[in-house]
Point group: C2
């Protein structure tokens, strides 16, 4: 646009692998979005954390929205790939599959991806309609996995026949989603313990079991 007296440009480093640096940018962005929200994170913030100028981001992403989308999408798909084999292993007992799903989800939530959380609800609104649909579809797929486990369990008699599976799915997801708000790595509970406690409450509630009829145990 405007001619410059071409004097002192900054020294710069070039990163070898483009895909790799793109992934690195996404990591940085997820962290910042998590901490300050989408609107609270400027492209200059992200660029600074990456060690370059803001304009350079446009060599990787068409827009800020695109960056948000790719961040969400990648993380969600990675997550679902992890879940899929466990969830749809129709040989496993529903109770066990449920336990495992909760474990994996909590673990992923707290240990690996403490960052990628609010992405999946409040920040979704910043996506374009098309992108939003895709993310919601992935999220629904998760619900579907969980739903099938519950329904299987109702058939086998592991879960009460009169429970509303859709509703239970919401409950479980709700509990896990919010762990990330109150969890502290230094706290008294480990992710594994948390997962176990969630599992137990979902299964049996907080009321004391009337005395178990041991003979009936298979």
């Amino acid at each position: 646009m405007v001619k410059r007296a071409g004097s002192g440009y900054k020294m710069r480093k070039r990163s070898a692998n483009k895909a790799a640096s793109k992934a690195a940018i996404i990591e940085v962005a997820i962290d910042l979005f998590w901490e300050n929200g989408y609107n609270g994170t400027s492209l200059r913030d992200i660029a600074e954390a990456c060690g370059f100028e803001a304009a350079n981001l446009y060599n990787y992403f068409r827009s800020k929205e695109q960056l948000l989308y790719e961040a969400m999408q990648e993380e969600l798909e990675r997550f679902l790939e992890l879940l899929e084999p466990v969830a749809s292993d129709s040989r496993g007992a529903p109770v066990e599959r449920l336990k495992r799903i909760i474990e994996i989800h909590v673990e992923r939530m707290l240990v690996i991806g403490r960052r990628y959380k609010m992405m999946y609800d409040s920040e979704i609104r910043h996506l374009s309609p098309v992108h939003r649909k895709r993310i919601v579809a992935l999220r629904d797929y998760y619900s579907e996995l969980l739903f099938n486990i519950i329904e299987d369990g109702k058939k086998t008699g592991d879960f009460a026949a009169d429970i509303d599976a859709r509703f239970v799915v919401l409950i479980i997801a709700s509990i896990i989603m919010r762990t990330v708000f109150w969890f502290s790595p230094k706290g008294r509970l480990s992710p594994a313990e948390i997962a176990d406690m969630i599992y137990k409450i979902v299964l049996d509630g907080i009321r004391p079991r009337k005395q178990e009829v041991k003979a009936r145990k298979k």
Copy 2:
């Protein structure tokens, strides 16, 4: 600052009661914050929705942060006032008190104050340290009410003695907080039904009860 050739100022209406219009502004602000988040809502947005110019807001609030704080604080206190008598009615059975608390909370969440939600977690970060402390204190007070009910129930034998009351409080709050994300007024479930289902799952879980021992019923 600068002299103006005083010609055409806008026509304007004056609202009689200052406190009333302040309350009205807060209502508008809560709605917008809910829909677009704190950072996504400009003072000009709020002013426009109120029908006046942005600068006028400073006749009511010292800053945007102050507006957010007052919005949160007012709503939270109203909520706690509602809960208090039920929660600390030590004559009522813990089971019944728990049921009522869930009912009130869900109702408030979904019917009356669908808006005032994210306030209490992600948007809290926009508060100044002092204000944040006060809001968190109010929130903790809610936890305390719930905690006492659980502990009471453990003593009376209504709840299992080995459950972690702190944890249960988190679980219940988590479930209710997130109802606002998936609830639809046109959906198949009414707030009262949702409250009831939450209550039942928290109490008994999803596993089928072994046959009840009817004789033991008091």
